[in-house]
Amino acid sequence: MSEELKTDNYLTHERGFLSWALTLDHKRIGLLYMIFVLSAFLLGGTFAVLLRTSLLTPNHWMFPSDPAHDTQAKLFYNNMFSLHGTVMVFMFIIPAIPAILGNFMLPMMLGAKDVAFPRLNLMSFYIYCLGAILFTWILMGGILRTAFNIHLPFGFGLDTGWTFYTPFSTSKAEDGMVAGVLGAFILGFSSILTGVNFIASIHTLRPRGMTWFRMPLFLWALYATSIIQVLATPVLAITLLLLVAERLLHVGIFDSSLGGDPVLFQHFFWFYSHPAVYIMILPAMGVISEVISVHSRKHIFGYNFIALSSVALALLGFLVWGHHMFVAGQSNLVDSVFSLLTFSVAIPSAVKVFNWLGTLYRGSIRFTPAMLFAMGFILLFTIGGLTGLFLGALATDVPLHDTYFVIAHFHYVMVGSMVFAFLAGMYHWFPKMFGKMCNPTWGRVAAILLFIGFNTTFFPQFVMGAHGAPRRWATYPAEFQPYHVISTIGSYVMAISLIMVALNWLAGLLWGKKAPANPWGGNSLEWHCPSPPPHDNFTTPPVVDDPYNLAAWEYDASIEGWVPRKPQPAPAGRAAADRTRPVTH
């Protein structure tokens, strides 16, 4: 009987398809999300590699060069970049960290059995699936049709970019636009409901003794993210419905010939989509705070500033949407106000970077794959954030707007930062989720290779954009070819390194060493239960402590993991008291 209890965990607790399909266990839901979200990443990444391959020559070498094929090639490219953006934004980046790592870890970090609304959680997942399937099926049809002349039933296409600007989207775009918009509409509800769940959980499920300022920073990050999800996503939902009404019913709200305004759509769209980028980056920053601290065995530096800057970013993020429209024809006053406000969001981000460096100071750094991805994040997020300065300043934004400079900037924050943080989080929590360890050498190789491949892909795009190369161009002037070739080679290196990560994880799942409860020595509550956790998370109620009190653990070589340190007599003096806060229950 005790043997069974020892091996029973959330994976083995119940078996059968329905025990997964109708599960209310946040950990299983996290894994279900993982399967779909990683598939979306694979799909979006495939489109990226295809379009980078197409850009190796100025005139889409993948198709014959006669005029009929010219049309086909351009339609293919336009579909591909549109799908790359929509799949990555709506199906991968926005859900990835909250729905996978957040779902898994948030209840455990709160010492709880599950989220506040487990059924809502399952519903969020199914809504995600519905939106994802709608998107993928209908829009893939466009690729198959333009590339291979294969006609799927309802296989339309999307060639508006992920931004659906009017009046092109409502009058000229391919038919799949309505399906794509509805797919995004449905996916948005998944996001909103997850946000509601997390807010409720953090408010109501914190154990006695875990005040707001004793939560792990990952929870602060998820909380700030959830606020944005709940407040901003409904605006997108209505905007998308208005777009469909415009397209199907010709209502006229965005049509200048009927007295409407195309730029109004941009206001509505970016009012959500700018805060959306903070939905993408805040959880990533939360992961980094955890990883940097634990893997350098050091209390996070400047906890209060980091926590408050997460909330500040969430709020300030609502005030800057107009910087996406600096050249759209806004008034000079409006442009100036948005420029000033845009600079305000630079500050909380800068503060965090310095705090993370401060955490490394006098630490005891282990170069685990998680730590390498986190260090890559710090460098790449610095570049991504700093290049935002060029775009926030009006005079420099005018020539750089809608060029490859912008593409490079946002890929540095969305891929170089968010994806690196996601991978850091996956490596950090992999042992907890699966009870297995990954081979660290291959993880490190993959991290370094991805860093090299990423910079090779995107840094040349800054230079190309500064020289005037516009974005979303299927063909381009020959002078830009060297940059495109370097960029494409980089994308292949990225693809190889990501395949390496996938194989590393697979090998870990199949043949990895059994993981101890606390392989890295973290003190947040998820490390106070076995790896993988039992169905109800905790066999004994965990004791609340400062989540960064890493000194409470010591390394035990026999299990290759960390165990609670036996209590030592507290040193005398005020400085010591500051270092070891008493534990309250």
Partner: protein
């Protein structure tokens, strides 16, 4: 590769980061670019050096005890909040100042109307003449009044450092004082469909006398009909989609041998006589042609009846089905060639 090397050699490429400075404002914009650039280099190197130094100095070594370190330092944290705040305020200020110079044209600027449509630009000058070439006089303020016939386009001239979206239903304006002679790129920067990446043009910056001369030759009003028809084909956007030498563009039927040919449309078969041509020029897409998308833009306001007549005359002249009893009064002289 060759194109790039040519550009580098001729100086047309510019520096590592920026294209040549072609306008009075470009210098100010580039100054700000590099101001921000060196701030970025400084902070990036700071982060890099600290990261690498800490990673090295504080790497885990077995048996080494952990060093004492504070969990926070309010003075330090406030400093590194306050200093970046100051820096961004300075950057904002210069960005704002430069932008106001870019955005507000001088009152006496020379106006050129720019009309964008999928996928070409058309320029109209104060003398009423239209061209698909943009010429402007050097060292003269020129303001572009931007309008679109269909969707949102972009109007970007990298060497001038100016860009603005062209939005249907309103006028957007940008202005420039070009300082460097030469022919420079115009790019469309707002995705507008299939041929967005082909929506490119050129701006020719020339001495004022040359510009005035060129302007005077616009219009071709005194040309005979056939020649003028060819001129209109060249300058009113027809040549974007219709060839005149029989080449298949995939976008629209060639005009060669079109006159009196049999055209298969979705509503039957038509003989392309003068009436048919008149109808399909003035009411595009009314007879969608088999094998082509109905993408011809409207011509209302672009071609008057004389223009349509001259185009039809030209189309007739390049058809094997046209056998005039007498040859044309004057052989076509070399018109604007493209």
């Amino acid at each position: 590769m060759n194109a790039m090397l040519n550009n580098l050699a001729s100086g047309a490429w510019g520096g590592f980061w920026m294209p040549p400075e072609g306008s009075a404002m470009a210098g100010e914009v580039d100054w700000l670019f590099f101001f921000i650039y060196w701030i970025c280099v400084f902070f990036f190197l700071l982060v890099l050096v600290l990261l690498v130094a800490f990673a090295w100095k504080y790497r885990y070594r077995e048996g080494q005890p952990m060093l004492d370190a504070p969990k926070h330092n309010t003075a330090l944290e406030l400093t590194w909040t306050f200093i970046p705040t100051l820096i961004v305020i300075v950057i904002f200020f210069y960005g704002f100042k430069g932008y106001m110079n870019l955005a507000v044209p001088p009152p006496d600027a020379y106006e050129v109307d720019v009309t964008a449509r999928m996928w070409s630009y058309s320029f109209r000058y104060p003398n009423g003449e239209q061209s698909n070439e943009l010429h402007i006089p050097v060292n003269t303020p020129v303001v572009f009044v931007l309008s679109s016939d269909d969707v949102i386009h972009g109007f970007y001239m990298p060497v001038f450092r100016i860009k603005k979206d062209i939005v249907p239903g309103r006028y957007n304006k940008i202005w420039v004082q070009a300082t460097r002679l030469g022919t420079w790129d115009i790019f469309c920067t707002q995705y507008c469909g299939q041929d967005h990446s082909s929506m490119r043009s050129h701006v020719v910056v020339e001495p004022r006398a040359v510009f005035v001369d060129w302007l005077g030759k616009l219009g071709g009003g005194s040309l005979p009909p056939v020649e003028r028809g060819k001129y209109l084909w060249d300058t009113r956007g027809c040549q974007q989609c219709h060839s005149v030498d029989g080449a298949a563009t995939g976008k629209a039927p060639t005009w060669k041998d079109l006159f009196m040919s049999h055209v298969q449309t979705q509503d039957g078969m038509h003989v392309a006589d003068e009436d048919y041509l008149h109808e399909v020029i003035t009411h595009p897409n009314v007879h969608p042609i088999a094998g082509y998308q109905p993408i011809m833009p409207p011509t209302e306001g672009l071609l008057n009846e004389k223009d349509v007549g001259d185009i039809i005359a030209y189309i007739k002249s390049i058809s094997k089905n046209y056998h005039p009893a007498l040859p044309a009064a004057a052989a076509p002289t070399t018109g604007p060639s493209k």
